[in-house]
Amino acid sequence: MKHARIAWSGAIQLAIESDGQLLITQGPHQGLRVDFDEVVWLPPLVPVPQPRTVIALGLNYADHAKELAFKAPEEPLAFMKGEASLIGHQAFTKRPADVKYMHYECELAVVIGRTARRVKKADAYDFVGGYTVANDYAIRDYLENWYRPNLRVKNRDTCTPIGPWLVDAADVPNPMALKLQTTVNGQVTQSGNTADMVFDVPTLIEYFSSFMTLKPGDLILTGTPDGIVNVNPGDVVVTEIEGIGALINTLVKA
């Protein structure tokens, strides 16, 4: 099943995808169908009792690591983001006027389904609730070699679109063989496959849970492959993962 969290009729609604429409699943409008373009799409994540942990990976595709002139890391290169950087599908991301190089990053996002601590690789998929698509924008002008990638590059307001769907793990039989693609104004600029991750999803869950507890709703953004290009205000960026969804975002002037 594909789950969405939307704003419609003056309130937040939970919905699922049904025959090309959104079927509202809870509350006074339960059972009602609304069209995709009638709603505001929110990150497809239900609220959690404590601040959501959002882990992101750098250099997790061999080709992207090469593109950025680094050798692939020996252990996951991880950084953390605040939940406030997340926005939904069909939203606007701000691009500062004075920068030269701002790029998208199409990433498979893992949503944790069960509390995970010291999980072995072989059991790791049991702890995944589902998957969604994230676009982990970066502004390279602001890169500094202190806790790199630093938060000024990676934790900016509006710079982490996510969605449109949270797809149940049961509906993604092999998350390590999904095509990824990004288009900018309809032109394909990035294409890859999750099979090319340096550290795959089970390895990442084993690694993080070896020193920290992951809670339901926590996110792991698994990195991006080759093919990043600069984007400008007005550009429409679609980051898409086979079977998960196509996440649309539009750049605007900051």
Binding site: Q50, P51, R52, T53, I55, L77, A78, F79, M80, K81, G82, E83, A84, S85, R117, Y142, E144, N145, W146, Y147, R148, P149, N150, L151, R152, N155, R156, D157, S210, F211, M212, T213, L214, K215
Partner: protein, 210 residues
């Protein structure tokens, strides 16, 4: 409010005490840094670190921890601090500041956070200092007058690239000793942080049962 816990995302600030900045300054231009940091260098303390209990458990092979006495600004709805909390921002000692410190700072229980918040309006932050005691002996005094970026400047420089939401916490940084290291604690040690006007914050470090 006996056991205060963060309601939002907790951010820490690296190199925000003048002593550590000055000790680093001769090396800042070298590889891999290639220059001093221009913007505030922040990190996140994820929710699994929140620890309002009386002990810090060393797990998964960790034998010693840095004590990180700090104050955190608890943000209100208007982008200004609403209150201030006394925190112990525990970390695994790490020499390199090149890569993000997730495995050093985001371990379970590594944010001691039970001391109740104190209203912002009642405080004159630069006049405060945190006394750090290890097993009853004073090992460090952290003066809030020694910040590289004092509160207003830090809020402005962070606000340039990200908004702090109501309930988010921005920690002001942790100071080092004259040798460039933070005071360290091992299994069996009791660490007490005291600041006038705040409830003392005491935690005992425990080793993992075999």
């Amino acid at each position: 409010m006996k056991h205060w816990q963060p309601a939002g995302t907790v951010y820490g600030c690296l190199l925000n005490f003048q002593r550590e900045w000055d000790l680093w300054a001769p090396r800042m231009a070298q590889d891999p840094h290639k220059g001093p940091p221009r913007a505030p260098v922040l990190y996140v303390k994820s929710a699994n670190t929140f620890n309002p209990g009386g002990s810090l458990l060393l797990q998964d092979g960790v034998k010693e921890v840095d004590i990180g006495a700090t104050l955190g600004l608890v943000m209100g709805t208007d982008g200004m601090p609403d209150s201030v909390v006394l925190l112990n921002d525990w970390s695994v000692p790490h020499e390199s500041y090149y890569r993000p410190p997730v495995k050093f700072r985001c371990r379970d229980g590594y944010l001691g956070c039970g001391s109740p918040a104190v209203p912002w309006a009642s405080l004159d932050l630069p006049s405060l200092s945190i006394m750090v005691q290890l097993n009853g002996q004073k090992v460090q005094t952290v003066h809030l007058s020694d910040l590289v970026r004092p509160v207003e400047r830090l809020l402005a420089d962070v606000g340039e690239f990200m908004s702090l939401q109501a309930g988010d916490v921005l920690m002001l940084g942790t100071d080092v000793l004259a040798n460039g290291q933070r005071p360290r604690a091992h299994a069996g040690d009791t660490v007490c942080l005291t600041v006038p006007g705040f409830a003392p914050w005491v935690q005992t470090v425990q080793g993992e049962a075999l």
